[in-house]
Subunit: 173 residues, 2 copies
Protein backbone atom coordinates (compact mmCIF):
# COMPACT_ATOMS: atom_id res chain seq x y z
CA UNK A 1 0.00 0.00 0.00
CA UNK A 2 2.77 2.40 0.79
CA UNK A 3 4.29 1.97 -2.65
CA UNK A 4 1.13 3.04 -4.44
CA UNK A 5 2.01 6.68 -4.23
CA UNK A 6 5.13 6.24 -6.35
CA UNK A 7 2.94 5.49 -9.33
CA UNK A 8 1.25 8.36 -11.12
CA UNK A 9 -2.40 8.25 -12.06
CA UNK A 10 -2.33 5.22 -14.32
CA UNK A 11 -4.18 1.98 -14.78
CA UNK A 12 -2.34 -1.29 -14.08
CA UNK A 13 -0.95 -2.36 -17.42
CA UNK A 14 -0.13 1.14 -18.60
CA UNK A 15 3.55 0.58 -17.99
CA UNK A 16 3.52 -2.28 -20.45
CA UNK A 17 1.43 -0.34 -22.92
CA UNK A 18 3.75 2.64 -22.75
CA UNK A 19 6.81 0.46 -23.18
CA UNK A 20 5.26 -1.39 -26.10
CA UNK A 21 4.09 1.79 -27.76
CA UNK A 22 7.49 3.45 -27.58
CA UNK A 23 9.31 0.31 -28.61
CA UNK A 24 6.98 -0.27 -31.55
CA UNK A 25 7.36 3.24 -32.86
CA UNK A 26 11.09 3.01 -32.37
CA UNK A 27 11.42 -0.31 -34.15
CA UNK A 28 9.25 0.76 -37.03
CA UNK A 29 11.45 3.78 -37.68
CA UNK A 30 14.51 1.62 -37.20
CA UNK A 31 13.37 -0.83 -39.83
CA UNK A 32 13.52 1.84 -42.48
CA UNK A 33 16.77 3.19 -41.05
CA UNK A 34 18.58 -0.14 -41.36
CA UNK A 35 17.16 -0.90 -44.77
CA UNK A 36 19.79 -2.74 -46.78
CA UNK A 37 21.21 -4.82 -43.96
CA UNK A 38 20.62 -8.58 -44.33
CA UNK A 39 18.34 -9.49 -41.44
CA UNK A 40 17.00 -6.06 -40.68
CA UNK A 41 17.14 -4.67 -37.17
CA UNK A 42 18.68 -7.82 -35.74
CA UNK A 43 21.57 -7.59 -38.13
CA UNK A 44 22.35 -4.14 -36.81
CA UNK A 45 22.03 -5.30 -33.23
CA UNK A 46 24.33 -8.25 -33.81
CA UNK A 47 26.87 -6.13 -35.60
CA UNK A 48 26.78 -3.53 -32.86
CA UNK A 49 27.13 -6.18 -30.19
CA UNK A 50 30.03 -7.85 -31.95
CA UNK A 51 31.95 -4.62 -32.31
CA UNK A 52 31.12 -2.86 -29.06
CA UNK A 53 30.95 -5.77 -26.64
CA UNK A 54 33.19 -8.35 -28.26
CA UNK A 55 31.18 -11.41 -27.19
CA UNK A 56 33.23 -14.60 -26.93
CA UNK A 57 30.74 -16.88 -28.72
CA UNK A 58 27.50 -17.04 -30.64
CA UNK A 59 25.79 -18.14 -27.50
CA UNK A 60 26.79 -14.92 -25.79
CA UNK A 61 25.35 -12.92 -28.66
CA UNK A 62 22.10 -14.83 -28.55
CA UNK A 63 21.80 -14.46 -24.80
CA UNK A 64 22.47 -10.74 -24.93
CA UNK A 65 19.96 -10.03 -27.69
CA UNK A 66 17.49 -12.81 -26.80
CA UNK A 67 17.93 -14.43 -30.19
CA UNK A 68 17.47 -18.16 -30.47
CA UNK A 69 20.59 -20.15 -31.38
CA UNK A 70 18.99 -21.62 -34.47
CA UNK A 71 17.83 -18.20 -35.60
CA UNK A 72 21.24 -16.74 -34.99
CA UNK A 73 22.77 -19.40 -37.22
CA UNK A 74 21.10 -18.32 -40.44
CA UNK A 75 21.15 -14.67 -39.39
CA UNK A 76 24.94 -14.90 -39.20
CA UNK A 77 24.96 -16.84 -42.46
CA UNK A 78 23.48 -13.82 -44.17
CA UNK A 79 25.91 -11.46 -42.50
CA UNK A 80 28.86 -13.62 -43.50
CA UNK A 81 27.59 -13.73 -47.07
CA UNK A 82 27.32 -9.94 -47.02
CA UNK A 83 30.91 -9.70 -45.84
CA UNK A 84 30.04 -7.94 -42.59
CA UNK A 85 31.42 -10.51 -40.17
CA UNK A 86 33.40 -13.72 -40.26
CA UNK A 87 33.32 -16.87 -38.17
CA UNK A 88 36.68 -17.65 -36.65
CA UNK A 89 37.34 -20.83 -34.68
CA UNK A 90 38.17 -19.81 -31.16
CA UNK A 91 41.78 -20.96 -30.62
CA UNK A 92 41.15 -21.49 -26.90
CA UNK A 93 37.97 -23.50 -27.44
CA UNK A 94 37.50 -24.79 -30.93
CA UNK A 95 33.89 -25.71 -30.25
CA UNK A 96 33.00 -22.04 -30.17
CA UNK A 97 33.06 -19.65 -33.11
CA UNK A 98 34.35 -16.20 -32.50
CA UNK A 99 32.35 -13.70 -34.52
CA UNK A 100 34.57 -10.89 -35.69
CA UNK A 101 33.49 -7.92 -37.77
CA UNK A 102 35.29 -7.33 -41.03
CA UNK A 103 36.66 -3.93 -41.95
CA UNK A 104 33.64 -3.41 -44.14
CA UNK A 105 31.36 -4.49 -41.29
CA UNK A 106 32.91 -1.86 -39.04
CA UNK A 107 32.52 0.88 -41.61
CA UNK A 108 28.96 -0.19 -42.36
CA UNK A 109 28.13 -0.10 -38.68
CA UNK A 110 29.59 3.39 -38.33
CA UNK A 111 27.47 4.55 -41.21
CA UNK A 112 24.27 3.04 -39.85
CA UNK A 113 24.93 4.17 -36.31
CA UNK A 114 24.39 7.73 -37.46
CA UNK A 115 20.95 6.78 -38.72
CA UNK A 116 20.09 4.89 -35.56
CA UNK A 117 21.22 7.76 -33.39
CA UNK A 118 19.02 10.06 -35.43
CA UNK A 119 16.05 7.75 -34.91
CA UNK A 120 16.66 7.66 -31.17
CA UNK A 121 16.96 11.42 -31.02
CA UNK A 122 13.78 11.71 -33.06
CA UNK A 123 11.88 9.46 -30.70
CA UNK A 124 13.09 11.32 -27.65
CA UNK A 125 12.33 14.68 -29.26
CA UNK A 126 8.69 14.09 -28.39
CA UNK A 127 9.44 15.36 -24.90
CA UNK A 128 11.73 18.16 -23.70
CA UNK A 129 15.42 17.48 -24.26
CA UNK A 130 16.47 17.23 -20.63
CA UNK A 131 13.54 14.97 -19.88
CA UNK A 132 14.61 12.78 -22.79
CA UNK A 133 18.08 12.45 -21.34
CA UNK A 134 16.68 11.68 -17.90
CA UNK A 135 14.36 9.08 -19.36
CA UNK A 136 17.17 7.39 -21.30
CA UNK A 137 19.37 7.31 -18.22
CA UNK A 138 16.62 5.95 -15.96
CA UNK A 139 15.67 3.39 -18.56
CA UNK A 140 19.25 2.25 -18.77
CA UNK A 141 19.44 1.75 -15.04
CA UNK A 142 16.13 -0.07 -14.98
CA UNK A 143 17.21 -2.29 -17.85
CA UNK A 144 20.36 -3.16 -15.98
CA UNK A 145 18.39 -4.12 -12.90
CA UNK A 146 15.94 -6.19 -14.92
CA UNK A 147 18.82 -7.79 -16.73
CA UNK A 148 20.46 -8.68 -13.44
CA UNK A 149 17.28 -10.29 -12.17
CA UNK A 150 16.90 -12.23 -15.41
CA UNK A 151 18.15 -15.79 -15.00
CA UNK A 152 18.36 -16.47 -18.74
CA UNK A 153 20.84 -13.70 -19.39
CA UNK A 154 23.70 -15.04 -17.37
CA UNK A 155 26.31 -15.54 -20.09
CA UNK A 156 26.72 -11.86 -20.84
CA UNK A 157 27.09 -10.84 -17.22
CA UNK A 158 30.84 -10.94 -17.70
CA UNK A 159 30.60 -8.79 -20.79
CA UNK A 160 28.46 -6.35 -18.87
CA UNK A 161 31.39 -5.45 -16.63
CA UNK A 162 33.54 -4.42 -19.56
CA UNK A 163 34.36 -0.77 -19.85
CA UNK A 164 32.23 1.32 -22.17
CA UNK A 165 33.78 4.76 -22.17
CA UNK A 166 36.50 3.72 -24.59
CA UNK A 167 33.95 2.16 -26.88
CA UNK A 168 31.95 5.35 -26.99
CA UNK A 169 35.07 7.38 -27.66
CA UNK A 170 35.88 5.19 -30.64
CA UNK A 171 32.57 5.81 -32.32
CA UNK A 172 33.00 9.57 -32.33
CA UNK A 173 35.53 9.13 -35.13
Amino acid sequence: MTSESILPATVPGDLGWNLAMVLRGYQRQLETAVDGLPGGVRCYQVLSTVIHRDPPSQQAIGAHLAIDRTVLTYLLDGMVDAGLVERIPDPTDRRARKIRATAEGASVLTRYEARVAAVEAGILSGIPADDGGRLAALLGRLATSVHRADPTASPCEAVESLGRADVIASRHQ
Copy 2:
Protein backbone atom coordinates in the same frame (compact mmCIF):
# COMPACT_ATOMS: atom_id res chain seq x y z
CA MET B 1 25.18 17.52 -33.69
CA THR B 2 23.71 19.87 -31.12
CA SER B 3 21.31 17.22 -29.93
CA GLU B 4 24.07 14.76 -29.08
CA SER B 5 24.51 16.12 -25.62
CA ILE B 6 21.02 15.13 -24.57
CA LEU B 7 22.03 11.49 -24.79
CA PRO B 8 24.05 9.97 -22.00
CA ALA B 9 27.08 7.83 -22.69
CA THR B 10 25.45 5.11 -24.71
CA VAL B 11 25.90 3.36 -28.02
CA PRO B 12 23.29 3.98 -30.73
CA GLY B 13 20.80 1.17 -30.32
CA ASP B 14 20.97 1.08 -26.54
CA LEU B 15 17.63 2.81 -26.26
CA GLY B 16 16.01 -0.04 -28.12
CA TRP B 17 17.94 -2.63 -26.16
CA ASN B 18 16.91 -1.06 -22.88
CA LEU B 19 13.28 -0.83 -23.92
CA ALA B 20 13.27 -4.42 -25.15
CA MET B 21 15.00 -5.69 -22.03
CA VAL B 22 12.56 -4.01 -19.67
CA LEU B 23 9.56 -4.97 -21.76
CA ARG B 24 10.70 -8.57 -22.02
CA GLY B 25 11.22 -8.94 -18.28
CA TYR B 26 7.90 -7.23 -17.66
CA GLN B 27 5.99 -9.43 -20.05
CA ARG B 28 7.54 -12.60 -18.76
CA GLN B 29 6.43 -11.80 -15.23
CA LEU B 30 3.06 -10.74 -16.55
CA GLU B 31 2.54 -14.06 -18.28
CA THR B 32 2.62 -15.87 -14.97
CA ALA B 33 0.54 -13.15 -13.33
CA VAL B 34 -2.32 -13.48 -15.81
CA ASP B 35 -2.21 -17.27 -15.82
CA GLY B 36 -5.74 -18.55 -16.21
CA LEU B 37 -7.00 -15.92 -18.61
CA PRO B 38 -7.86 -17.24 -22.09
CA GLY B 39 -5.36 -15.59 -24.39
CA GLY B 40 -2.76 -14.66 -21.84
CA VAL B 41 -1.47 -11.12 -21.64
CA ARG B 42 -3.56 -9.94 -24.56
CA CYS B 43 -6.73 -11.04 -22.85
CA TYR B 44 -5.88 -8.86 -19.89
CA GLN B 45 -5.05 -5.95 -22.14
CA VAL B 46 -8.29 -6.29 -24.06
CA LEU B 47 -10.32 -6.60 -20.89
CA SER B 48 -8.61 -3.59 -19.37
CA THR B 49 -9.13 -1.57 -22.55
CA VAL B 50 -12.78 -2.52 -22.78
CA ILE B 51 -13.51 -1.51 -19.21
CA HIS B 52 -11.31 1.54 -18.81
CA ARG B 53 -11.50 3.10 -22.27
CA ASP B 54 -14.83 1.84 -23.55
CA PRO B 55 -13.80 1.49 -27.20
CA PRO B 56 -16.66 1.75 -29.68
CA SER B 57 -15.69 -1.21 -31.85
CA GLN B 58 -13.34 -4.13 -32.24
CA GLN B 59 -11.33 -2.09 -34.67
CA ALA B 60 -10.68 0.49 -32.00
CA ILE B 61 -9.43 -2.21 -29.64
CA GLY B 62 -7.13 -3.63 -32.27
CA ALA B 63 -5.75 -0.24 -33.17
CA HIS B 64 -5.11 0.65 -29.55
CA LEU B 65 -3.33 -2.60 -28.71
CA ALA B 66 -1.82 -3.22 -32.16
CA ILE B 67 -3.70 -6.49 -32.50
CA ASP B 68 -4.65 -7.65 -35.97
CA ARG B 69 -8.38 -7.80 -36.69
CA THR B 70 -8.24 -11.51 -37.50
CA VAL B 71 -6.34 -12.25 -34.33
CA LEU B 72 -8.75 -10.19 -32.27
CA THR B 73 -11.65 -12.22 -33.61
CA TYR B 74 -10.66 -15.54 -32.10
CA LEU B 75 -9.12 -13.83 -29.08
CA LEU B 76 -12.55 -12.37 -28.33
CA ASP B 77 -14.11 -15.75 -29.09
CA GLY B 78 -12.18 -17.20 -26.17
CA MET B 79 -13.11 -14.32 -23.91
CA VAL B 80 -16.77 -14.65 -24.80
CA ASP B 81 -16.62 -18.39 -24.13
CA ALA B 82 -15.06 -17.65 -20.75
CA GLY B 83 -17.90 -15.25 -19.97
CA LEU B 84 -15.65 -12.24 -19.57
CA VAL B 85 -17.12 -10.08 -22.32
CA GLU B 86 -20.05 -10.13 -24.70
CA ARG B 87 -20.52 -8.93 -28.25
CA ILE B 88 -23.39 -6.52 -28.57
CA PRO B 89 -24.52 -5.20 -31.94
CA ASP B 90 -24.03 -1.47 -31.91
CA PRO B 91 -27.53 0.03 -32.27
CA THR B 92 -26.16 3.04 -34.11
CA ASP B 93 -24.06 0.98 -36.54
CA ARG B 94 -25.04 -2.64 -36.74
CA ARG B 95 -21.93 -3.55 -38.67
CA ALA B 96 -19.86 -2.91 -35.57
CA ARG B 97 -19.87 -5.02 -32.44
CA LYS B 98 -19.71 -3.28 -29.14
CA ILE B 99 -17.58 -5.28 -26.74
CA ARG B 100 -18.91 -4.99 -23.22
CA ALA B 101 -17.46 -6.64 -20.14
CA THR B 102 -19.76 -8.85 -18.14
CA ALA B 103 -20.06 -8.51 -14.39
CA GLU B 104 -17.74 -11.45 -14.02
CA GLY B 105 -15.32 -9.88 -16.46
CA ALA B 106 -15.21 -6.73 -14.36
CA SER B 107 -14.58 -8.64 -11.16
CA VAL B 108 -11.96 -10.80 -12.84
CA LEU B 109 -10.19 -7.69 -14.09
CA THR B 110 -10.22 -6.15 -10.64
CA ARG B 111 -8.66 -9.29 -9.24
CA TYR B 112 -5.95 -9.47 -11.88
CA GLU B 113 -5.20 -5.76 -11.75
CA ALA B 114 -3.81 -6.27 -8.28
CA ARG B 115 -1.36 -8.83 -9.66
CA VAL B 116 -0.40 -6.63 -12.60
CA ALA B 117 0.14 -3.65 -10.33
CA ALA B 118 2.38 -5.83 -8.18
CA VAL B 119 4.40 -6.85 -11.22
CA GLU B 120 4.81 -3.24 -12.29
CA ALA B 121 5.87 -2.22 -8.82
CA GLY B 122 8.30 -5.12 -8.75
CA ILE B 123 9.84 -4.11 -12.04
CA LEU B 124 10.20 -0.51 -10.95
CA SER B 125 11.62 -1.57 -7.59
CA GLY B 126 14.93 -2.14 -9.34
CA ILE B 127 15.60 1.58 -9.06
CA PRO B 128 14.81 4.05 -6.26
CA ALA B 129 11.12 4.64 -5.74
CA ASP B 130 11.03 8.30 -6.79
CA ASP B 131 13.08 7.50 -9.88
CA GLY B 132 10.61 4.77 -10.72
CA GLY B 133 7.76 7.22 -10.54
CA ARG B 134 9.62 9.72 -12.66
CA LEU B 135 10.44 7.06 -15.21
CA ALA B 136 6.84 5.89 -15.43
CA ALA B 137 5.64 9.45 -15.87
CA LEU B 138 8.23 10.29 -18.52
CA LEU B 139 7.53 7.06 -20.32
CA GLY B 140 3.86 7.87 -20.36
CA ARG B 141 4.47 11.26 -21.90
CA LEU B 142 6.85 9.80 -24.44
CA ALA B 143 4.37 7.07 -25.34
CA THR B 144 1.72 9.71 -25.86
CA SER B 145 3.96 11.64 -28.20
CA VAL B 146 4.93 8.52 -30.13
CA HIS B 147 1.31 7.54 -30.28
CA ARG B 148 0.38 10.93 -31.65
CA ALA B 149 3.00 10.66 -34.38
CA ASP B 150 1.82 7.17 -35.26
CA PRO B 151 -0.48 7.25 -38.28
CA THR B 152 -1.86 3.75 -37.69
CA ALA B 153 -3.24 4.57 -34.28
CA SER B 154 -5.73 7.18 -35.31
CA PRO B 155 -9.00 5.49 -34.29
CA CYS B 156 -8.30 5.70 -30.57
CA GLU B 157 -7.40 9.38 -30.61
CA ALA B 158 -10.95 10.14 -29.57
CA VAL B 159 -10.77 7.66 -26.73
CA GLU B 160 -7.51 9.22 -25.65
CA SER B 161 -9.29 12.41 -24.68
CA LEU B 162 -11.61 10.65 -22.27
CA GLY B 163 -11.18 11.41 -18.62
CA ARG B 164 -9.08 9.02 -16.58
CA ALA B 165 -9.31 10.23 -13.00
CA ASP B 166 -12.70 8.63 -12.48
CA VAL B 167 -11.45 5.36 -13.86
CA ILE B 168 -8.56 5.30 -11.45
CA ALA B 169 -10.85 6.13 -8.57
CA SER B 170 -13.03 3.15 -9.39
CA ARG B 171 -10.17 0.69 -9.28
CA HIS B 172 -9.30 1.55 -5.68
CA GLN B 173 -12.20 -0.63 -4.48
